[in-house]
């Protein structure tokens, strides 16, 4: 028998689950996330095996969802020095790299920057050719000052040849193993946002190295010695460790994604809205054809505007620990503050003195937690009004995630799910599962391997069918590189966007594929 071990490291909890080949959940555990991450992972692994007869050697695949890359950016820690080569001159000098960044983050990255000749026009013509000698001169000047390079070409989403050309020069000068990120592999249209994402990706190379080696070591130390290891990406797919080392930024946002995927698995739905109620916030995501919907707007990461793919998540201040403020005039407000992980000492039902949404749920008889006697004095009318307001806030949030009118299926997961009302307007049915509290770890464990590709085609020059086939094949190659089994790879998403103002019927085509993990890679 072969088993899968999935671990999700969140801000508060580290969860672990074991699934068998038929995706049955055999064991699950929840422990506190530790400062060093690694010891929390080790504890979770020990605990999850303690409940089962499963031999650790029989685990053949292990996957990790982690927030360490996000934390490194937010805390400005462990980032390496990045040299930014923007290939776009004479255009774009008016906004140098790092304009309007937080100076602290710039200081942490200790950047070198150069804008060298090159780049494409919107219609595929060249702005300029690449001056390789100039690139070499720049790299010589940077020698010893940069740990990684980020290469960003104007309209590289249209044509990445020049970025590849500059990468080859970097390999000649610094050696072929020198870490490099190409913007065309990371973000979409919008040079500044894509450049920012590419810089962050390069700055995270040391962090991801530590995560991957730490994960491998933790597993080996506890006796999981036969497993192939994967990291979770923010689109609900996995990357093999060597691939993850090149694209650390794709781990950012994988937490909510895993919850959405886990919710999909538990509910057996492919299209639904997922509501994950935690201690402090409710995160809403949208499940489209089994995967989370991507955000279409620029996303801030640690105060930096980026445009790499991120799950479309709407967070509102409703959680189990959310505080209900009562005012002198008899009115009240719900949140947005929360007692967070201190709920077991602060909430009324646990002997504290703060009225939380958990207390309201207990007062209304919806949950049996702590000591219900301790909320008996809470005015029933107030409790009902609070619940009415929570209902309204959740309904508004759900509605804002819809792309069309009509009722939707809702999957309710997370540790704070008890505060949700029994019915919600705009919702066909609320789906819940007793494993909902570890939906994120389940999401990590069931993840598949994916690949995606984006390019602009002129439908006047290329037949539409050929363009779609070309994009699909390129996405497939990405999936194979990431560790997918060729015969299982299938297309899950194809988007075509007509580009306004551009002649030649220019259309941006984006293909996304997924497949099962290649068994040959298994130990």
């Amino acid at each position: 028998m072969a088993y899968r071990l999935g671990i999700d490291v969140g801000g508060t909890n580290t969860d672990a689950v074991i699934l068998d080949e038929n995706n049955r959940v055999l064991a699950q555990t929840k422990t506190h996330t530790t400062e060093d991450i690694g010891s929390g992972i080790a504890t979770a692994i020990q605990q999850v095996f303690a409940d089962t007869e499963i031999a650790k050697e029989d685990v053949t695949i292990a996957m990790l969802g982690t927030t360490q890359c996000t934390n490194a950016i937010v805390e400005r820690k462990k980032l390496i020095s990045v040299g930014v080569l923007r290939v776009a001159a004479p255009a774009t000098h008016s906004i140098p790299p790092f304009t309007d960044w937080d100076p602290e983050l710039v200081a942490a990255i200790r950047p070198q920057t150069a804008i060298v000749s090159g780049g494409h026009e919107y219609d595929g013509r060249l702005i300029a050719t690449v001056d390789e000698d100039k690139v070499r001169t720049v790299l010589e000047q940077w020698r010893g000052k940069v740990d990684a390079v980020a290469i960003v070409g104007a309209f590289s989403a249209l044509n990445a040849d020049q970025e590849e050309q500059v990468r080859a020069v970097v390999a000649q000068v610094y050696g072929k193993d020198f870490p490099v990120s190409l913007s065309s592999a990371i973000g979409s249209l919008g040079l500044i946002e894509r450049e920012n994402a590419t810089v962050l990706n390069s700055a995270l190379f040391a962090v991801i190295e530590k995560v991957t080696s730490g994960f491998a070591n933790s597993l080996r130390d506890v006796g999981v010695t036969n497993a192939s290891l994967f990291l979770c990406q923010n689109d609900g797919t996995l990357m093999a460790l060597d691939y993850a080392q090149k694209y650390p930024i794709f781990t950012i946002g994988s937490g909510p994604t895993n919850s959405i995927r886990g919710a999909a698995f538990l509910s057996e739905l492919k299209d639904a809205i997922v509501l994950d109620i935690g201690g402090t916030t409710s995160d809403l995501g949208v499940l489209v054809n089994g995967f989370p919907r991507e955000s279409s707007i620029a996303v801030n990461v640690g105060g930096v505007k980026t445009n790499f793919r991120m799950p479309d998540i709407n967070s509102i201040g409703i959680g189990g620990g959310t505080v209900v403020h009562q005012h002198d005039d008899g009115t009240f407000t719900v949140g947005p503050d929360s007692v967070g992980y201190r709920i077991t000492e602060k909430a009324l039902v646990f002997g504290g003195d703060v009225l939380t949404l958990t207390d309201v749920a207990v007062r209304l008889g919806k949950a049996n937690l702590g000591d219900p006697e301790k909320v008996a004095h809470v005015d029933l009318d107030l409790a009902q009004k609070v619940e009415q307001q929570v209902k309204q806030m959740l309904e508004d949030a759900i509605d804002s995630m819809k792309t069309q009118a009509g009722d939707v299926d809702l999957v309710l997961v997370g540790g704070g799910a008890i505060v949700a009302p029994a019915t919600l307007n705009g919702v066909k049915q609320i789906h819940q599962d007793q494993l909902g509290a570890v939906a994120n770890a389940i999401g990590a464990t069931i993840a598949q391997v994916g690949g995606e590709y984006e390019k602009m085609y002129s439908y006047d020059a290329v037949d539409r069918e050929d363009a779609l086939a070309d994009a699909t094949e390129a996405a497939k190659q990405q999936a194979l590189k990431a560790g997918a089994r060729a015969e299982t790879v299938k297309l899950v998403e194809m988007t075509e966007t007509a580009i306004a103002y551009a002649p030649g019927n220019t259309t941006r085509v984006k293909a996304k594929v997924v497949g099962e993990i290649e068994l040959d890679t298994l130990g």
Partner: protein, 365 residues
Amino acid sequence: MRNLTKENIENIATGASFMGAGGGGNPYIGKLMVLAALEQGGQPITLLDVTEVDPDALYIPVACMGAPSVMMEKFPCGDEFQKVIRALEKHLGKQVKGTFPIEAGGVNSMIPLVLAAQTGLPVVDCDSMGRAFPELQMTTLHLAGVRCAPMVVADEKGNLSVLETVTDKWAELLARDMTVEMGATACVAQYASTGQQLQDGAIHGIVTKCEQIGAIVHDHKLGTQEKRQAIVEVTGGYHLFDGKVVDVIQKVVGGFNRGTIVLEGLNASTGQTMEISYQNENLVAHIDGQLVISVPDLICFADVDSLVPITTEEVKYGKRMTVFGLPSDDKWRTEAGVDLVGPRYFGFDFDFVTVEELLHERGAK
């Protein structure tokens, strides 16, 4: 006369997004250009009141022309703005004393500030649209008899052209063609004006108005209702509608984004439906089939809670918006103004009636 701080610039950019009436391109790239020019040892940016200009001196607006979506990927080298100004100075044989935005709405609100930071030229607190419009001849300076040409068009590669044209519409046509060849974005200088012409023909105080709107939106101490009221007061406009987007019908026609947005009423508008037609900018709005506002008056969107401005590109199903109606400047509400940018120019089969009158009629029913 006063110097603009970084905070002032952030506020102007936000207000410019609002005053774009849904179009004009997101001012984000423009704002970054201003901040970069200042970071690179730029000079303080001075804002002049129109009353402070020299009536005989020369003032020239600089702008970017082309597709804002292309500019998100390929933006200027940065020296084009000085080049177009110097070329026009040379052509006219007269030195320029200041600059101003050709349109206060959208990304072009920011371009004169870049030039100001680079050269120390003051920015005059006026523009020639009071909003954003898609074509070069759609200016109040045109109405006042100022000529668009001689006009200079330049790209980042060093190509530069001086245009002499017989009409302002010809300037639009020829410059538009060059812009496409230059990669769908170009830097332009046109409508060379005397201080006197600005006092007579430009829309005054518009930069400050944008700044005031931005300051209201960014003021964390104000509640939603207070912000809404403050915006109405600053703009002399109307709070037309609160609604949720229930449909967006969109198509690209001849390089322009055309479409219809349908809102289902919220709050005081519950039970009503608003439909807005747009072509890059918002053009016409109906509530339950009844016309409430049309171009050249402004239809401006903002988030229903935060009041952060929303452009038509950002509108999608489920978005909750507050819709404001702003009277356009009186210069647009003339026969010539309405001929140039009224509903009939944009293909609607009715005459322009002011938003005040339309709301009065609606109230009377």
